[in-house]
Symmetry: C2
Subunit: 419 residues, 2 copies
């Protein structure tokens, strides 16, 4: 059975970058990422796909069914956060590969008439933990991020994206295929489906978000002898910002704002010298644009208060901002019908996290699907999606891909990738 | 004049490790530290001192005046914090060298009868910014820290103290001299002397202190999709700790508690993953042991509240603790008489910061002196002590050292260093 194949393959793939805690650690461009890609290239080739890599190292597995026609893309990402789970991204890539293999079989055996070709994609650096920004591969392909700028990004050790890609020895530089439509399945990374006992989330929109890079400037002084009133402690200022970001979520209607600070660097980071400088990220996300607007306004007030209280200067730069973004209703409807036909429970869902589909939906008809995450756990080695849900997701993705390949979303006009 | 010599020499020495901002950056065992030591070894040799290094790389300049007698040590440290000032430590080493040279001259020319020999010391790694703990060299010499443990300490890059010392090429391993007494002069690193218009601080005690290493344990999760109530955010917990440490200083009588968190590391430190782990230092210091006791008790309450609020576990380990510690009153009185004789304004002072004299006073009679810091600035490139105060300090230290060399504090029983 195809289902069993999927689980077997998924177990085999999960060996690469595996951690002692049962997860994986495959940050973009690391040895573990390269090894996972090499395994996946082998899978694609032995299943009849033509493997190629574009200049930002997006990995494609092409299968031509209609010579000269554009491609329906399906996939996700194999890279991971540090000490992450096996499912985030990786599930969607392998599910896409299995779905594409099955759809190609149907076309070849005359069970389905295709208007498009098929391509599986493993996007480069979706996670953004080693190299910022996240969703790098799909941002370059969709022209939102310049290739040169992406290749020049460095990690904390000073290694560039270009060097990290080169270290994998992939033959990069291929022209990406023209794209007619995109489909992606992903673990939910939340508890919504699990709580409602639903197998499939039909993603119809993305939470609005404001992402900041902040620099807190204080002044070095002695941690012992400097009287408290004289201190300009950048780390104290940063701590007040972190607490303020959390308190915003308590001041606004429950569940309507997510905030986080998760990356922070300070200087000089010495046990006896007050920090002169802290750099951190600060994200605000909401399913309601008005709530997000209020959160941003409150944050601005808090920053002014913090500058006074900690005697620091807070510089903020909005690095990403987006409003509520919808996936095409026709795509949601196509997926809903397919779920109905398969007898799978389903419900509309929004995604809080960004996905490569967030980029793709801006250029082509895009379908985004969720399967449940046990306890909502993600970016954690304990991340889990049950076998039956994995298999159900592959079945649904297969039907959605079949619909897209048959041109059900009117995919006659293709997007020509950048780069 | 000796005074002018001092300022000329101090300017010459300040070249090593100098920074664009007018300070120095000479963390222990770095090239800049080695270069400063090499310059100082040259100064010592050309002024008749016998240079040697013990196993933890304390740098000694010995001058024998009374064959077989123990040594009066005088000195401080040439290492610095990152982007630090020129005076912290370095002033005291060179002042000690000039004082010792003058006292030796007096003895040789029959102006003073000595009962002890003299040794200038440049302690290894007083600052502790690269290698913890601080006051490493004097801790090893006084037997408070095992030599092997000190040599095995690593910096963030994994370099050991042993390797950092070896990289300097010094002939280490000499037996330190038996010590009869110790004297140190240092910049105040606070505003006390400046505000009261006093030239000399006669240090009679050390603030009590409790220094903690804390580990905050949370759980990795997605910064976007994880609902706030499910988060176990170690960085949020750490931020609450940092704010609580500051608020303790506001709850207790003004000026009676100093607190700081200045070193912090988090994992995984990624823009889209909630931190699972934060490690930080947290220091409490007070001139009143009862206030410090209350601060520790309040901190314990706050930690329990923070564990609840942030859903984290806070592990704390007391790494250093000391009560109010007195310098020998006879030493303070010797310095007071010398200041009077020189016509220098003086006042009793306590030190908030730790100094190598903090270790030495536990094993031998010890005199600790302060000169004013402009605006109280320290651990900052803008650190400054005025020329006239520098020169006055050298003059006073010379008289104090003369008194110690003449056995005024009864230095017939010597301390035999460890290691």
């Amino acid at each position: 059975m195809t289902e069993h194949d999927f689980l077997t393959d998924f177990r085999a793939m999960s060996v690469y970058g595996r951690t002692a805690g049962g997860g994986v650690d495959r940050q973009a461009g690391t040895v573990a990422d390269h090894e996972t890609r090499a395994w996946f290239a082998g899978w694609l080739e032995s299943n009849g796909f033509d493997v190629r890599y574009d200049a930002i190292a997006n990995q494609f597995g092409l299968v031509e069914l209609v010579p000269g026609a554009p491609y329906v893309l399906v996939g996700s990402h194999l890279d991971s956060q540090p000490l992450a789970g096996r499912f985030d991204g990786a599930y969607g890539v392998l599910a896409g590969a299995h779905a594409a293999r099955e759809v190609a079989r149907r076309v070849r055996e005359g069970e389905l008439e295709a208007t498009c070709n098929l391509a599986v994609v493993n996007w480069f650096n979706e996670e953004g933990s080693r190299f910022a920004p996240s969703m790098m591969g799909s941002s370059v392909l969709t022209g939102k991020l310049a290739l040169d700028a992406a290749l020049a990004v460095t990690d904390r050790a000073g290694v560039t994206v270009a060097d990290a890609i080169a270290s994998g020895g992939m033959p990069t530089g291929a022209t990406p295929p023209p794209v007619a439509a995109y489909a992606e399945i992903h673990v939910e990374q939340g508890r919504g489906l699990e709580r409602s006992g639903t197998t499939i989330g039909l993603v119809d929109g993305t939470w609005a978000a404001s992402k900041y890079r902040m620099v807190v400037r204080g002044e070095q002084s002695h941690t012992g002898s400097t009287v408290m009133a004289d201190r300009k402690d950048a780390l104290f200022g940063a701590a007040l910002l972190i607490v303020a970001a959390r308190e915003l979520t308590e001041e606004l209607p429950e569940g309507m704002l997510h905030s986080s600070v998760s990356e922070l660097d300070l200087a000089p980071n010495s046990p006896v010298t007050v920090a002169r400088l802290v750099e951190l990220n600060l994200d605000l996300r909401s399913p309601d644009e008005e709530v997000l607007r209020r959160a941003n306004a409150l944050l601005e007030q808090r920053i002014a208060e913090i500058e006074q209280r900690a005697r620091v200067v807070v510089e903020r730069r909005l690095t990403h901002e987006w409003g509520l973004l919808s996936y095409q209703p026709e795509g949601v409807e196509l997926a809903r019908r397919a779920a109905e036909a398969l007898g799978l429970t389903h419900a509309p869902a929004m995604t809080v996290a960004g996905h490569d589909s967030t980029n793709m939906k801006d250029v082509v008809p895009t379908v985004m699907l969720f399967v449940p995450s046990v306890d909502g756990v993600s970016h954690n080695e304990a991340e889990l999606t049950r076998d039956e849900d994995c298999v159900a997701g592959v079945a649904l993705l297969t039907e959605v891909l079949a619909g897209l390949a048959a041109g059900e979303l009117g995919s006659e006009t293709a997007f020509t990738p950048a780069g």
